[in-house]
Symmetry: C2
Subunit: 273 residues, 2 copies
DNA sequence: CGCCTGGTTGACGCTATTCAAAAGTCGTGG
DNA sequence: CCACGACTTTTGAATAGCGTCAACCAGGCG
């Protein structure tokens, strides 16, 4: 069953990294899953990958760049349901229905690999551990949606934005796309607003407050977390919902992570409980 | 594998109804799934069924009454992630992790049946169609969470409340708990607020506007949808995301449903497009 | 060089929150 | 049957948070 797949460097493949982190599957199962996918397709920035309500015939995984799932209201208001990062499954529900309730769009230039649904389904039917792996991926998605509900319903704009930055940092970390305290946030403030349920104007203002207070720096779509403890505290962030094996202490200055050079203590500020 | 289960009347069992509606599984598979569950446990109103962050050892299904999944922020703010109605799975993620990210609480007196996770897992491993059924249940949950995100992020209080009423009506309908245009809404306005991300005071005000305009009537926790078309239009409601086979035309006065006596035309108002 | 997209800023308005209190409602016990 | 207390619904007034509108600025690209 194991066959050649289209990934050159297994280690740097974000989908494989995420698969291992979330599902805990072993090497053979990983190779089997990956073997179902074809070569990548490239998309320019801000294109529909799957238009809303349009049936999709294959399951898509983002391997490079940023994308999103979105819902549109009739009058044009848009809610970004999930920001999709490298390694994320774009449309898991294609495993159950051929028509998704949402659209998938690229936010930057990006590349997507796809697998035929029937191929995945037979694989799932024959290999129970792979079925379990997909179940975990879907449930991880579920957990993220639940947390976002809490953010949208009960957190202030400031808390919500801080929460988003914490989440993105950890998610990017688990696919090897974040530094010790910096990461790239290559989307517009309007798109951030569509994610948080805010207007771009308000996103801008809140962002500046966080900047002026020295919690983060943000210039040219590069974010640096200057005060991990404060950011985490303001967000009320507890990353366990990510179920991604990411080391949650990455956001805690009191618990530097083994295997990482001690974070420059000169810049990180002490916790202020 | 088929064995006696604890349901007296298969037809009126809401979990079975939902299972059939969402997953489309046949009689044998349904019986197998049901056979994994024990007799019901009863809960008083407003109790924790699974406290937040506490590990659960079994999968729970609500068969009577209302409950919810919720998340608490440190300062006491609560977001109800999902309202659970008869037939709903309380904690699907127990299939992947033993510790849920949210709590489950009863909102009314209710009864819950449970199945051991290991029993379900072996069943899933051996019977692919049952694995597929659980996948669909989970993805249906996912779809609902996504829609709620759009509600929380981009709908006004009024739109959101209208949307909630539409959703509850259809969901109750698929488990046989709603009339042609009435249903019972046995929770407090504070709990509605925790669902919509609003304060109870504001829920009260919005509710009254809808009442005064004759869109709904609402007294003693009984809701009557007086003007289906207006309610649906104001909510921007499209029930396909429910994936429950519910007849979406139940909310459209122009398409009365076969098999149902013509809704009393004297009371239903004409569409006012 | 001018256009276009995206970021920034200010003034103003509306939606929903907050605080507070009155008026039901319901279960319980006398 | 009535009285009591706890919870829920309702109402009002004041406020805060975020949205809207509009203008201006900066950078990239044809």
């Amino acid at each position: 069953m194991m066959m050649q797949n289209h990934f050159d460097s297994a280690v740097s493949n974000p989908f494989e990294m995420r698969l291992r982190a979330v599902t805990g599957v072993d090497g053979v199962a990983v190779a089997n899953i990956l073997s179902a996918f074809g070569p990548g397709r490239d998309f320019r920035s801000k294109r529909d990958i799957v238009p809303e309500g349009k049936p999709a015939e294959s399951l898509l995984v983002l391997t490079e760049g940023w994308a999103c799932r979105y819902r549109l209201l009739r009058d044009g208001r848009r809610q970004i349901i999930t920001l999709l990062l490298p390694g994320d499954v774009c449309n898991p529900d294609v495993l159950a229905w051929d028509r998704a309730d949402y659209g998938v769009a690229s936010l930057t230039a990006c590349t997507v690999i796809d697998a035929s649904v029937t191929a995945l389904r037979t694989m799932i039917l024959r290999m129970p551990d792979i079925a379990q792996a997909w179940m975990k991926l879907i449930l991880a998605d579920n957990a993220m949606l639940a947390e976002h509900n809490a953010c949208l319903g009960r957190r202030s704009a400031r808390e919500h934005l801080a929460h988003l930055l914490c989440e993105l940092f950890l998610r990017l970390k688990t696919v090897g796309r974040a530094d010790v305290r910096n990461f790239s946030l290559p989307i517009t403030q309007e798109e951030i607003g569509d994610t948080l349920g805010l207007t771009p104007v308000h996103v801008n203002r809140v962002l500046q407050v966080l900047r002026n207070e020295g919690v983060i720096s943000f210039q040219g779509h590069k974010v640096t977390i200057l005060n991990r403890d404060q950011l985490r505290a303001e967000a009320g962030f507890d990353g366990r919902y990510l179920h991604s094996g990411a080391d949650l202490r990455l956001l805690d200055s009191r618990a530097p992570v083994a295997g990482v050079a001690a974070p420059s203590a000169a810049h990180s500020q002490p916790a202020r409980t």
